[in-house]
Point group: C2
């Protein structure tokens, strides 16, 4: 089977989905505008970000000191990438004009040698490339390259691409194994995926080579980052980096020798995404094997059922196998976006559809939970259990916000969610040499060429309710094929093509449907009955507990529906779960799930005492679960995913 | 009832107890020696502490830089206090001689104006009294005063008392409301209890007044510590103090206005101990009421069943009501020692015996767990649930050691345990005006005067096994009384005096026995049947869980007896618990408790998968619990206090 999958042209995809349409629709409508106001410090009641301001100063249009976090520029680049995707989706409104103007500003801010980073240009020119561990220069450059590639591909306008190339050329000159070059690599990976995208857009091989250099040089001895840190002495930007450990940035050993998901979760995912790209481009089996090892360690030992990763509030990182605390977990939204990026690439690299099971898990749960329905409030941290009164300073949950926030001082997540939702088409469809791949069952239309065949396809998905997906495909020019992923959550299912039942043969997680010229109707039926899940015995936190899923959606209990003290709730293992009609206050008309449970109260302890007689009173109760992604949209309060089983 | 209780003369008490005798016996035998080697950097394989070395430099006997943590001197003072108590107990061996020599050194190190602190003398004389928030100068002085008072009272030798007085006189001159005085107070309370002890020993009222000044000045506006921190700019000793919040050191408002146990737990307990002393000395009702409020908030909202306090690994502090995580909790050994100090004073202040219920809880569980049976390994942090593989860097349990340690770089706990165990008599007995008080049922002998009566008493306690306590008392000179605390854990009980059953009348938690001249035999029988406890519903962490106690002892499950994966264990609420014969490898011949339980394994999830079908297999199992204080004495492994109930 040919492995290399190409991304579809987002301009020829439209999302019509009830759930995702509601969020994607917000992007042009609200999110771009909201984020623009934040970048320009025009949002009332919000702390200034100084983002555009910094570019003005760098461009010489204003005087002043550069403010905000060292990687503040990336907010603009991620916004720009979202605008590009929104233009493709036909929902950018007048933001293309704003983007063009801001691109002029970016170009003006760039130095003549290609250097571009408002912090170092304005505040510390003598420190350029001298603090790779903390400075985020290459990370920032990577986001710029990603934005540039997207904006160019979608609009055809070359201005930002030129900026990116000039910057990439500089990076190629500065970093490398040659004499006089810096033998370093980024403390926060990202420039690698940026360079690879730039290569794919421009065909300029040196960008690909440079990405390979960064991955191959990383973690080799003598260790560049360790030496740099010794040279620099005290931390320059992040006091908590005082005892910087190399594992934090996956630079403790060369990536191709790594076998566990370690350190800062977002860094790890961006590194792995680049590794998977390089493994594909260079047909590098060793790198592929490393990717598979890390993926397996992550998804089988270190991932929450919601697709959240990074279980530690200390530096947003992976910890150790099976350490998955529900209340104090981190699960950064951006880390799950990174997981989606990595999984998408692994599917392309290996030809196996199953990678999309975890992409789907992350997308439908943690990533979607990262944003409210309105599109103006965000979660950075996504635990599986919240008691708001404990999410206070000094508790183990001090990093947890029990309510979505307007913005963050480190605001990586909001624009990252925006660019992900705005480019959702790339996770739904992919182009093979002789087939159109369908990876997600999100209602949408696509028209595309597959070789000399033209296909116009319309997918109407009722996956999240009945599990039924209807596809209409019009093929012309030549016969072609559909490769349809069979989701891991569906234990049974059937496929009808043009009204006849198909004998389904699944290979590498796909079924192949040959489509002759003409129109076809395909009906997929997946098993999306609500199901209870248990965790591996080694996850001590979830011992004796169950989590409820329906299709790819993890469900949770909210105080809104079930009262507080959710920790008192018990459920029979065999309890029958009924899907009921949606709560109109939630997105996507997703069914609400109802079932019988128990409240077990300790009634032997007097109200004002802390400890007392064991006397549990068990009372039957009706429970009502909603999709995890939807929590905290109706009211503030407790939330719980893993529920105690009656054993 | 007369409230003021005096401490007994430790020289006239001998501990004969099976359990505590085993630990107390180690003090002269091993602990003093072990700790001496650490203070003098003679312990092989241990990091140097530089403790005595620093004094040598300060005394001008050596040249060099002062090393170790800023409050390193206190290790020596606490050791010295332990030596004093050990001399009283007749088990100091040749350490009195060593102590005398080290006192000479201390005296030589003291400056002519009374100043004494090796860090500031050697490394930063210009910074004296300039960093009260971080510098621990007054804290260090307080420990010196406590040691001096004990050493003088027990040995009659005045040398160290003179040093302490000279130092206290300086502090009285430097700090106060007067013009030219520093209007400050310590960032870490301790000098207050030190000054009060010095007052009680010397009768010098100004020391008491000075202690009152420190408590009364604390937290008033304009806030001294806030201003000092602004003045100083960056942290000098502890980078984590960058965003120093005043609540951390209970200086957010005046102590007498406080009503919750907040901030750093040890600091809070030392402050409260001084407040209770002052309330008693000045008959200050307002201060007493504040003490009662803080005590109640702590013991009814913020204390583990083991008497551990401070639920947060972030800065060893109290968090919020009912936030009592079992695995990531802190429960510093020193904080529970502080709780004992506070409770002892509250009983004296209020005349209520019930304060000793929590003193006992802390002593028998968290404090005793702080040290191994051998006396050479220590816990600083005492969680109620340990899975060693999760107590690694970056997890929420990163501050937890799953194995007792040799020593710590911040080594407050080991010498604090030593001085507490070496002076145990003060928690067992107290002297009232007309009665001898018995607060703890720890086998021991005491001879003392009560007014013009002489009493020689021998207590043989089998409390922890059968609940029976036999007391023989010989009274001469005049009739007298015994005030015997009825422990809160005992729901029934009876008292026989000279072979006749007594009609027990409990008042303020005590029974009063009038004893005529002559010998008497008293037999107490308390209810120490094993009992299961539940926590208040608001402690979400313990919902549906039970903890097993027998008398004052909290029991736990260890991997040693029950295998690993203790999180799989369930117990019926009505399960019958049998006391069996002790495990000889544990201290004190404490009964081991056996009962039936279940193992609930998730067998629907394949070994290499993370999530899967809910299929719990429940198998009966025999469980064996040991006292919490004894855990990790036989082997390393998992430990669990709160066990899941079958509901």
């Amino acid at each position: 089977m040919p492995k290399k999958l190409k991304k579809p042209d987002l301009k020829r995809i439209r999302i019509t989905d009830e759930l995702f349409g509601q969020y994607a629709g917000r992007i042009g409508e609200k999110i771009l505008d909201y984020q623009w106001k934040i970048l320009t410090d025009e949002l009332e009641g919000s702390e200034p970000t100084y983002c555009i301001e910094n570019f003005r100063i760098a461009a010489g249009e204003k005087q002043g000191e550069r403010k905000g976090v060292v990687f503040q520029d990336t907010d603009l680049y991620k916004w720009l990438e979202s605008v590009a995707f929104s233009i493709a989706g036909g929902m950018a409104g007048d933001f293309e004009e704003k983007a063009d103007r801001v691109i002029e500003l970016i170009a003006k801010a760039q130095e003549s040698d290609g250097y571009l980073n408002t912090y170092f240009q304005i505040n510390a020119p003598e420190r350029k490339w001298k603090n790779l561990a903390e400075g985020h220069e290459l990370y920032t450059a990577g986001h710029m390259m990603e934005a540039a590639a997207a904006y160019y591909v979608i609009t055809g306008k070359e201005k930002i691409l030129e900026v990116a190339k000039k910057n990439a050329d500089l990076i190629c000159r500065v970093f490398g194994k040659g004499e006089g070059q810096v033998h370093g690599y980024p403390g926060h990976e990202e420039v690698e995926v940026g360079l690879i995208k730039l290569y794919r857009v421009t065909g300029e091989k040196k960008y690909l080579e440079q990405a390979r250099y960064f991955i191959d040089e990383r973690g080799t001895e003598p260790n560049y980052l360790r030496q740099e840190i010794e040279r620099n002495g005290q931390p320059e930007f992040f006091p908590e980096f005082k005892n910087y450990d190399l594992e934090y940035s996956q630079s403790h050993k060369p990536p191709r020798e790594q076998s566990e998901a370690v350190g800062h979760a977002v860094r790890d995912m961006y590194m792995c995404s680049a590794m998977a790209d390089l493994a594909e481009e260079y047909e590098d089996k060793e790198l592929e094997t490393a990717c598979v090892r890390i993926w397996n360690n992550m998804t089988k030992r270190r991932m929450y059922i919601t697709g959240g990763i990074g279980s530690s509030g200390f530096r947003e990182r992976f910890t150790t196998d099976y350490d998955l605390p529900n209340a104090s977990g981190y699960c950064e939204t951006c880390a799950s976006i990174g997981l989606m990026m990595f999984g998408q690439r692994m599917a392309s690299l290996t030809g196996k559809a199953s990678y999309y099971d975890e992409v789907e898990r992350a997308l439908y749960n943690t990533v979607l939970a990262g944003i409210n329905i309105e599109g103006n409030r965000y979660f950075y941290v996504n635990p599986l259990e919240v008691v708001p009164e404990f999410c206070t300073e000094h508790t183990a949950m001090q990093h947890v916000k029990a309510v979505r926030q307007k913005w963050f001082s480190v605001a990586c997540c909001p624009p990252n969610i925006a660019r992900t939702l705005a480019s959702l088409g790339q996770y739904i469809y992919a182009l093979g040499e002789d087939a159109l791949y369908i990876h997600q069952f999100i209602s949408s239309t696509i028209s595309t060429s597959i070789g000399s065949a033209e296909i116009v396809l319309e997918m109407n998905s009722d996956l999240l309710d009945t599990g039924r997906v209807d596809i209409k495909a019009a093929v012309s020019g030549k016969e072609t094929s559909l490769m349809i992923r069979i989701p891991g959550f569906s234990e049974s299912g059937n496929v009808r093509v043009d009204e006849s039942e198909l004998d389904v043969k699944v290979s590498d997680g796909y079924i192949r449907l040959e489509l002759s010229e003409g129109t076809h109707s395909i009906e997929l039926k997946f098993d999306t009955a609500p199901k209870w899940f248990a965790a591996n015995n080694n996850v001590r936190e979830d011992a004796g507990k169950m989590a409820l899923m329906k299709g790819p959606l993890v469900y949770c209990l909210e105080e809104e529906d079930n009262g507080d003290h959710l920790s008192e709730i018990y459920v029979e293992q065999s309890t029958e779960v009924k899907a009921e009609k949606p709560d109109e206050r939630l997105a996507g008309k997703l069914p609400v799930l109802k079932y019988k449970g128990y409240r077990v109260k300790s009634v032997g302890v007097e109200n004002n005492e802390l400890y007392g007689e064991v006397k549990f009173r068990k009372e039957e109760t009706e429970l009502r679960a909603v999709p995890y992604s939807q929590w905290n949209n109706r009211s503030d309060g407790e939330m719980l995913v893993w529920q105690k089983a009656v054993v």
